[in-house]
């Protein structure tokens, strides 16, 4: 068994790791309860029912804890059949079927676990694997189970196909609805906090479900199952808003409500008839939910990254200010210190001066040096020291930044192109700082387009190209915008120089500072697309110049 499941994954238990016997007891109780509750509409003389949520518990246990739990599964199936069966096949047959079913699902769980099947489903790929393996496994289980019963004389040979179909659909839809729910890692505290913010939506979704279920009851009485489809609407809504957890919880509830409706309404249509649409609903909800989960986690990741970027940028702006300040103050400080030293020299050896003069001048010089030291430390605090240099994929950084600006590009109708080059080596930079630089340059290009009102005859394009250049990588960012104003060109990289109405004019200056501290550089060139072109140079090897 996999050790990570022992410590890392707690799908059945929430936040604490329960002891094995607790899991076993809980599993048995849940299995037998569901087995008893779902014992509806068995085929004549058999225990084959068209709805088996109890198998969902079986697969959840085997996925979460490993195939080693198969014996317990076999025992539970055996006991379940013994307790609820009224046809009572001989115990030898029961032992055989229980063992067979446990083995089939253990194999399915083992296959899924090799692809991380013990984790909650978060991607459409994961959903596809899960649905595919479960469809196949429940088919194999159904065929073998029925074959055993037929050969034991428990099921008539002419009923084989009907029996397999009933059993398969019951197993498949039971697993697909319940297993993902049981595998969820739900944090009750977080859910409780989340609740008030979405209260209205939850209420509306609940109302939708109530209407759906009420409709189902009414329609069950009217024997018109075609109108069962309105249930797709609330389930789809929940799936898109809350991902896999919401989707599969609602599918399970809808399944239970539907079964209850059909069973409690005398003379309604057989459950088997609605199991196919139910299964379709389950699979649809699973895929929609997985898509929504994937999208949500991508969005969250992007937001997190943006926060890091913003913080870095603020730090960098402060650094640039500190740098500009020290530069401006260092000139008068130098003059001041030199004047005081000169005064000291002039006062030395002159008998007519106040004896306190030399001491005063010495103190003045010390104070001036102290002020200079404060400036130096301030600058060093903001300079390069924060950089975390590591091997970085420059193309991935560019793609990430472009992704985050996708909306703005679309709004400005800009056609963006990132040229991949296959054999680009990794570069040694602080990836966050490189991201800031690329972000800055792309934003500049976009803003340049936005100032270009009226005349929109030429297509708006931004292009990023990369190339290897000796021990460096060059990243070129071209746009077809208005280019750089001649008055600005010369002083482009100086702080506080800008052609924009908003902004501090620090972007390019600090971008260049970042890169230079990491052994790279930034400059502008005549553009290939008629607008501005900036070139970022970054080293592929560590340089020692950060502490010269």
């Amino acid at each position: 068994m996999n050790t990570t499941t022992e410590s890392g994954v707690r799908p059945l238990a929430g936040v604490f790791v329960p002891r094995a016997w607790l899991i076993a007891a809980g599993y048995l109780a849940l299995y037998l309860l569901l087995d008893w509750a779902s014992y509806v509409e068995p085929l004549p003389h058999t225990s084959i029912t068209p709805w088996n949520p109890n198998t969902g518990v079986v697969v959840a246990l085997l996925l979460a804890r490993g195939a080693g739990w198969a014996p317990l599964v076999a025992v539970s199936i055996f006991v379940g059949e013994l307790l609820t069966d009224n046809g009572a096949p001989p115990w030898r047959v029961l032992a055989l079927t229980s063992t067979y079913l446990a083995m089939v699902y253990a194999c399915a769980a083992w296959t899924l676990r090799r692809r991380g099947g013990e984790q909650p489903i978060t991607t459409p790929g994961g959903a596809a694997w899960f649905a595919g393996i479960i469809a196949a496994a429940s088919g194999i289980a159904a065929a073998g189970y029925v074959a055993i019963l037929v050969s034991a004389g428990q099921v008539a040979a002419e009923e084989t196909r009907a029996a397999i179909a009933h059993y398969w659909i019951g197993e498949f839809s039971g697993i697909i609805a319940l297993t993902p729910v049981l595998l969820l890692k739900i944090n009750p505290a977080a859910l409780w906090e989340e609740m008030p913010r979405h209260r209205r939506e939850f209420l509306m979704q609940a109302a939708g479900a109530v209407v759906g279920v009420g409709l189902t009851f009414a329609l069950a009485a009217a024997r018109d199952v075609r109108l069962f489809y309105p249930l797709f609407a609330p389930v789809t809504w929940v799936a898109l808003r809350h991902g896999v957890p919401g989707a599969m919880i609602s599918v399970s509830l809808v399944q239970a409500a539907l079964v209850a409706a059909l069973e409690l309404t005398p003379g309604s249509i057989p459950l088997f008839d609605v199991q196919f649409p139910m299964l379709a609903l389950g699979v649809t909800a699973l895929f929609l939910g997985a898509l929504a989960t994937q999208r949500d986690s991508a969005l969250r990741q992007m937001r997190d990254q943006d926060t890091v970027l913003q913080r870095s940028l603020r730090f960098a702006v402060a650094g640039q200010l500190a740098s500009a300040l020290t530069h401006e103050l260092n000139q008068p400080m130098t003059a001041l210190i030199s004047y005081v030293r000169a005064s000291q020299l002039m006062s030395e050896g002159r008998p007519d001066t106040d004896e306190r003069l030399s001491g005063t001048l010495r103190k003045a010089a010390e104070e001036a040096l102290r002020a200079a030291d404060v400036l130096r430390r301030l600058r060093e605090f903001y300079r390069g020291e924060g950089a975390r240099i590591a091997a970085t994929d420059a193309l991935a950084v560019c793609a990430r930044v472009a992704d985050s600006l996708q909306d703005r590009m679309r709004r400005s109708a800009v056609e963006f192109n990132l040229q991949y080059s296959a054999s680009l080596p990794q570069v040694m930079v602080d990836s966050t700082q490189l991201e800031i630089v690329v972000h800055n340059l792309l934003t500049n290009s976009l803003e340049a387009f936005d100032t270009q009102r009226g005349a929109r005859s030429s297509p708006r394009r931004i292009e990023i190209t990369t190339a290897r250049h000796g021990a460096d990588v060059l990243i070129g960012i071209d746009d077809s915008g208005p280019g750089i104003a001649a008055v600005v060109t010369e002083r482009l990289f100086e702080p506080f120089v800008t052609s924009k109405t908003s902004g501090m004019g620090l972007g390019l200056s600090l971008s260049r500072t970042f890169l230079r501290h990491q052994g790279g550089d930034l400059w502008s060139e005549p553009g290939r697309l008629g607008g501005a072109r900036f070139v970022i140079r970054v080293p592929t090897q560590l340089t020692t110049q950060t502490n010269l």
Partner: protein, 202 residues
């Protein structure tokens, strides 16, 4: 120190820095000539005046780095000490790569500045001495005849009189006479001195 030890050519666009450093250095006995920009320094530079350059890196007009390039172009070999108020590591590196003698960050410790400048001036003096010595040696070597130069080369290569005589087809006695003449012309008193002079020649 006096003017013959060399002058510090101070180039800085900031009048306060210029004035205060000139005052301080002259009080310390270092002759200093201030310039407000690199252009005016180049225009007034006289190659025969010994000294070193103390220049700011960031200046409007010609920057410190451009000044270095301009000096190199004009084959002016005075040592260049670079000063910056910015602590700009990359520029400092570029300056040192360009052959700067040293790099100092403003505000500077006057003791360290003086140290660096005295070193730079000494280097300049030594370079000038070496150049003039070489010129004098070259002048003296000019006086040798073709045959004497041939013999000097063989002597410098460590050959005995007998070998030289055999190689040139003359007697050992004649080699002796030639050698005495060479020593006289090159103003050398020993064989070791002769070899040293031969080596300093271009």
């Amino acid at each position: 120190m006096n003017d013959q030890d060399g002058t510090v050519f101070l180039i800085d666009d900031d009048p306060g820095v210029r004035d205060s450093l000139t005052l301080l250095l002259s009080l310390k006995g270092v002759s200093t000539q201030p310039f407000a920009n690199a252009e005016s320094f180049i225009a007034s530079y006289q190659p025969e005046r010994p000294g070193c350059v103390l220049t700011d890196l960031r200046m409007p007009g010609m920057t410190g780095l451009e000044l270095q390039a301009a000096l190199r172009e004009r084959r002016i070999e005075a040592p260049v000490v670079v000063l910056t108020a910015h602590g700009d590591v990359a520029t400092a590196r570029a300056a040192l790569k360009n052959g700067a003698f040293d790099f100092l960050e403003k505000p500077i410790d006057d003791a360290m500045l003086l140290d660096v400048l005295r070193n730079a001036l000494r280097v300049d003096r030594e370079r000038r001495n070496a150049v003039s010595m070489r010129a004098a040696t070259d002048q003296r070597l000019e006086r040798l005849t073709e045959r004497e130069r041939e013999i000097l080369a063989l002597v410098a290569a460590g050959h005995q009189n007998r070998h030289i005589a055999a190689q040139l087809g003359i007697s050992s006695r004649t080699v002796e006479v030639h050698k005495a003449r060479i020593m006289e012309k090159l103003e050398c008193r020993s064989l070791a001195e002769l070899i040293r002079v031969n080596r300093t020649a271009t």
